[in-house]
């Protein structure tokens, strides 16, 4: 029975996501769009199955919610900080800096989410990975103390992602 379910839903998260995206696109909650969304959600993972050799296991769903809330909150705060830097700080007083963040994460999906988060929170942009993927290069708009930025990224984001993905 489980095997049959696995065959029909090789990637249950993707099925769920595709259905939700379709319903949002149609922008009405009618049974019509839910059924068609489900149909897409079943067919697309089934066809693309060979391209997902191993999928990330999300372990900690409450942590996913916490992570999203933390990131949204940080985006608001960082926006205000960066707006203040742009409007009120003289360009010569600003200290742009490169920061190297050593990664404890190993799964590619987790590193992708971390890099994306760093870019979307204003003030930091993730620029490059080291050759073997052990370090992340981050550019900061104004960072007199690069070590503090590195520690904050590791504390706030990487620790939570490690609990989610690994």
């Amino acid at each position: 029975m489980m095997k049959l379910l696995r065959r029909i839903f090789p990637h249950p998260h993707l099925t769920f996501l595709l259905t939700v995206v379709w319903v949002l696109l149609a922008n009405n909650g009618s049974l019509n769009s839910v059924v068609f969304g489900l149909l897409l959600g079943i067919i697309i993972p089934f066809i693309t199955q060979p391209y997902w050799p191993d999928r990330p296991k999300l372990r900690n769903w409450s942590m996913v919610v916490e992570y999203i809330l933390v990131v949204l909150w940080d985006i608001v705060i960082a926006n205000i900080t960066v707006a203040r830097i742009i409007l009120f700080k003289r360009d010569s007083d600003r200290e742009p800096n490169w920061v190297c963040v050593p990664l404890d994460l190993r799964t590619p999906e987790a590193i992708t989410v971390l890099a994306g988060t760093i870019t979307m929170t204003p003030g930091t942009v993730s620029c490059d990975l080291s050759a073997q993927g052990h370090n992340l290069l981050v550019h900061c708009l104004d960072a007199p103390d690069p070590a503090a930025v590195r520690d904050e990224i590791k504390q706030r984001y990487e620790r939570r992602l490690k609990e989610i993905f690994e």
Binding site: N79, V82, A83, R94, P102, A115, M120, P122, C127, A131
Partner: protein
């Protein structure tokens, strides 16, 4: 009651306008190319986010029907914006930074952009 809703919607629109403006202003004010990259990432978060919140609030509070496909715009922006930024940054590193100017890459010795073999016969556009 409608008045309060309209004030709320106007508030979201003003917030997004302010951050959109600051983002664009940053493009002019900041001088080095890597710092300029920070400006658009801000416009796409609170700048666009404010308009989307206002749009959701308008359809829910004033028109009385639930419209959530604005969330999709947020989703797609969060998927695409970091990739654009990453590629611009990689281009900058490829063209304008030497390995010794960047911080130490630890045990991997080089950052990925420098680790690829440098092609010599690519025309140099860095002067323009």
């Amino acid at each position: 009651m409608t008045g309060i809703f309209e004030i709320l919607i106007a508030f979201f629109l003003i917030v997004s306008g302010i951050f959109g403006f600051v983002g664009s202003f940053g493009m002019i004010k900041l001088k080095d190319p890597m710092s300029r990259l920070h400006a658009p990432t801000k416009a796409t978060t609170l700048g666009v986010g404010g308009v989307l919140l206002a749009s959701i609030a308008h359809s829910v509070l004033l028109e009385g029907k639930l419209s959530l496909h604005e969330l999709l715009i947020t989703l797609f922006l969060f998927l695409t914006a970091p990739i654009t930024a990453l590629f611009i940054a990689k281009w900058h590193i490829h063209r304008h930074e030497q390995p010794q100017d960047l911080p130490d890459a630890g045990e991997d010795e080089l950052w990925a952009t420098h680790a690829v073999e440098q092609v010599e016969d690519v025309p140099d556009h860095s002067a323009n």
